[in-house]
């Protein structure tokens, strides 16, 4: 048993080494000094508290999205529509804030309501994918992808149409909300401990759900073998639907954080690609909840660290994407090779 763990770790290290080699090759091909690039990536995310707090700002939505995806993956579903669910979450939050900003309700209540609205919006959007799959026979990958485009178009229409800034519509988004409606941040920083608390709560909830509850076990059974799960008495499609809705609520919460804690308005591409990034994190950790936390932090750090690459090394910041992508591909590739190798034995 111990031997097996050791072998597993060896394979994983092999995968990371492969990713590092591939990325280095890309850097050399781009005529950039690899070592300097890596050092700057690290410095860009961990050299000061302000920078680290930026990493946490990116970690929150990524962690929320990943938590949600761990639920759908457990049910054997590919929720590619996660991006659209984040966007709908952000739209719903913005809608609630616009509706309530002039009311007499206390700002705290308004913020809480708007976050709940975001979760509901994400859940509703996800339930569309689920309904398309269950009642229309549309594979969730195609349904979700289609709905992503609809969500993007919807947000753009709002920004340039009904919700445009007085006088001028622009790519910079809707009119920012007053400071009282921002999720409270730490003095002198953009980072809000409340949003981190929400993300931590989210992952704890998913951990408990999948580890110790009947619901989690039955969900996993649906994911691994829906036919057998049905014969064992699990209402299969209902469970899939619930998985979609739960994941959508998480994505909606991520969208709500983007609005209330980061941008304080609706902007185009409010999801910042965290949905797709979350899919990569979930795949990378092989759907294990515990590992999702550090890996999401690592991915967030890569994103933030790469911001200063253009300034210092004249490198494009998309390097972080290259590293993330090659890492996921290497891990999946190594896993594939390992399974082939094991089968032969």
């Amino acid at each position: 048993m111990r031997n097996e763990t050791l072998i597993n770790i060896t394979w994983k290290i092999g995968a990371i080494a492969l990713a590092l080699i591939l990325t280095t090759l890309v850097l050399i091909a781009a005529d950039a000094p690899p070592l300097a690039a890596y050092i700057n990536l690290f410095k860009g995310s961990f050299s000061s508290w302000v920078k680290f707090s930026d990493v946490l700002i990116a970690w929150v939505p990524l962690m929320l999205v990943t938590s949600g995806l761990l639920i759908t993956f457990a049910a054997g579903l590919w929720n590619i529509g996660i991006e659209g669910q984040i966007i709908l979450g952000a739209i719903s939050t913005t809608w609630a804030l616009r509706l309530l900003q002039d009311s007499t309700l206390s700002p705290v209540l308004v913020i809480i309501l708007s976050i709940l609205a975001g979760m509901a919006g994400g859940a509703l959007w996800a339930s569309l994918t689920g309904a398309l799959k269950t009642f229309g026979g549309v594979n969730e990958i195609f349904g979700g992808l289609g709905l992503n485009f609809v969500a993007i178009a919807f947000s753009l229409w709002l920004i340039f149409g009904p919700w445009k800034r007085p006088g001028v519509a622009s790519m910079s988004g809707t009119e920012p909300f007053p400071r009282t409606l921002w999720l409270p941040a730490l003095e002198g920083m953009r980072f809000s401990p409340w949003s981190v608390a929400l993300a931590v709560l989210g992952i704890l909830l998913v951990f408990l759900l999948l580890k110790g509850t009947y619901f989690g076990l039955r969900l996993k059974a649906v994911g691994k073998n829906p036919k057998a799960a049905y014969l064992l008495g699990v209402p299969t499609w209902q469970y899939m639907m619930v998985a979609f809705i739960a994941c959508g609520a998480f994505a909606g919460a991520a969208g709500a954080m983007q609005v209330t804690a980061v941008y304080h308005r609706l902007i185009p591409s409010i999801s910042s690609g965290y949905g797709y990034l979350g899919l990569m994190v979930a795949m990378l950790v092989n759907y294990q909840v515990v590992w999702a936390v550090p890996v999401a932090l690592f991915f967030a750090a890569l994103n933030i660290g790469s911001i200063q690459l253009p300034i210092i090394l004249k490198l494009d910041s998309s390097l972080s994407g290259v590293i993330q992508g090659t890492l996921v591909l290497s891990v999946l590739l190594v896993e594939g090779i390992r399974q082939k190798f094991m089968k032969k034995k």
């Binding site: 009947y214 076990l217 691994k224 073998n225 036919k227 014969l231 008495g233």
Partner: protein
């Protein structure tokens, strides 16, 4: 073309699917191949048509030895096979199905091909329109398409695997006419079937396979009894039967009709009593699986009523049946019954009723340990289910059944198990019957059916026999019924396919 099979051997794991088969088929002959499921018919035909390779042995065509690597290779040698499920492409046109298998250049000459299709169709009196989409054709027409396609590709040996399943009577007549015509032209026809009547009616000679061996050949006039005893042979005896005192009606079927793409079952009426065991006999695909699933609400009946404990559950889903104490165990254990990747304990948690939100691990492990002991499963609670052997998986599947249960529906409960496991599993099942649980099960082992059932129903191409008393039925009688003989005696009692 003369086909000669010399000493063909093929094993799958421990199973000797073909064991030293020798057979010579002269050209112009319609050769019947008879045998029950798993006798090795399909394996032999797949070897001849290049789908699989023999471990040992030779194929000789027109006295020259050939090695056939693939189906495409086979057709180059003139051997074409018609599969039980047509291997065509339904969303494409007839003509495109023709062009697919043809090694033509980049731009096939469509008009030539259309002319060829018409010529061949006319020759046999088929009415195939090259421009029609294949999914608009009936099974019989798809068969006709496949026959002329193989002939067009130059087949001189035609292998047909259970070709009369799923086609109408008139299409069957047409098919037989065509096959006789082809034999008259000197083509070699190999007709694989379990239907005695068809074989006796059509074939110039018959070879019977049982458990991978060629156990006999026959020529007309055929003796049905002799063929049946060759097909089924004599298997191990299980010891004395035990009957059980039966109680109230637990399942009531009133004129239930079923329909799928292949066959129809009409107006089955049945009362199952508490503690009773009913065995369903018949060749695979004769309708018994659909019937069993209908009893569980997994297949919806087109008409009639299904009552469980006098509660009308017609049209209700499986979970409604399950709630009333009905359990269904599929034949494909790992594909449908169990969840690979989960442990034995987790399976018990899934199968039992839930209490609260959180799983009580200790209690679950204890339950798993208990059942592992009771059912003599070789494994521990933390074993992943797929790591167990087939026999132990089956025991686990049975151990998952809740207590008490009203009715257990099982598809091939002991297929692939050694005799010891079979007897153990049945002793467990009979214990449950003592407690009032009824059982309906499908088996292809006639001895098992007669041994453990109180009553037997035979299925043949959608026809359903009235329940027969197992004690007064013999293996030979069952064998005849399964092969479609001796149905006249039932008269109006038979639930008929239209």
């Amino acid at each position: 073309m003369q086909v000669e099979l010399r000493n063909i051997h093929k094993t799958f794991g421990k199973v000797h699917a073909n064991n030293g088969i020798n057979l010579i088929i002269p050209s112009g002959t319609i050769q019947g191949i008879l045998g029950e499921n798993g006798a090795g018919k399909s394996t032999l035909m797949k070897i001849l048509s290049g789908f699989i390779h023999a471990d040992r042995g030779e194929i000789v065509l027109n006295s020259s030895r050939v090695v056939i690597h693939s189906p495409a290779d086979a057709i180059k040698h003139g051997v074409g096979m018609l599969h039980q499920d047509p291997l065509d492409f339904p969303p494409m046109k007839v003509i495109d199905n023709f062009l697919l298998g043809h090694a033509g250049g980049l731009f096939p000459n469509r008009s030539d091909v259309v002319r060829n299709i018409k010529q061949l169709s006319d020759q046999f009196g088929f009415s195939l329109d090259p421009e029609v989409y294949v999914d608009a054709l009936s099974v019989g027409e798809r068969q006709q398409l496949e026959i002329i396609r193989l002939l067009w590709l130059g087949a001189t040996v035609l292998i047909l695997d259970e070709p009369t399943t799923g086609i109408s009577l008139s299409q069957k007549d047409k098919l037989f006419e065509t096959l006789k015509l082809l034999a008259g032209q000197g083509k070699t026809i190999i007709f694989v079937s379990h239907k005695l009547e068809d074989v006796e009616h059509l074939c110039h000679r018959v070879a019977v396979l049982r458990q991978g061996e060629l156990v006999g050949t026959a020529e007309p006039p055929y003796e049905t009894d002799a063929l049946v005893s060759k097909m089924f042979g004599k298997v191990i005896k299980f010891g004395g039967r035990q009957s059980i005192q039966v109680g109230d009606v637990v399942l009531k079927l009133e004129k239930v009709s079923l329909e799928d793409s292949r066959l129809q079952i009409k107006d089955v009426t049945l009362n199952v009593q508490a503690g009773e065991v009913i065995g369903l006999a018949g060749m695979e695909g004769s309708g018994q699986a659909a019937f069993l699933q209908a009893c569980a609400g997994l297949v919806r009946s087109v008409s009639g009523k299904i009552l469980v404990k006098s509660k009308d559950l017609t049209g209700k889903p499986y979970h409604a049946f399950k709630k009333q104490g009905v359990a269904y165990l599929p034949a494909a254990r790992l594909e449908q019954g169990l969840v690979p990747g989960m442990t034995v304990t987790e399976h018990f948690v899934l199968a039992e009723e839930t209490h609260g939100i959180f799983i009580n691990r200790d209690q679950a492990v204890k339950l798993a340990q208990d059942r592992i002991k009771t059912y003599n499963i070789k494994g521990v609670p933390a074993s992943s289910i797929e790591s167990l052997s087939g026999g132990n998986q089956q025991r686990a599947l049975l151990a998952l059944l809740r207590i008490p249960l009203l009715l257990v529906l099982m598809e091939q409960p002991t297929r692939g198990l050694d005799i010891e496991s079979v007897m153990y599993i049945w002793s467990k099942l009979k214990e449950r019957c003592q407690q009032g649980t009824s059982i309906i099960f499908i088996s292809s082992d006639l001895d098992e059916i007669l041994q453990y059932s109180d009553r037997v129903m035979v299925f043949f191409a959608g026809k359903v026999s009235p329940p027969l008393e197992a004690a007064s039925t013999t293996v030979d009688q069952l064998g005849q019924l399964i092969g479609g003989k001796g149905w006249d005696g039932f008269g109006a009692e038979v639930a008929h396919a239209q």
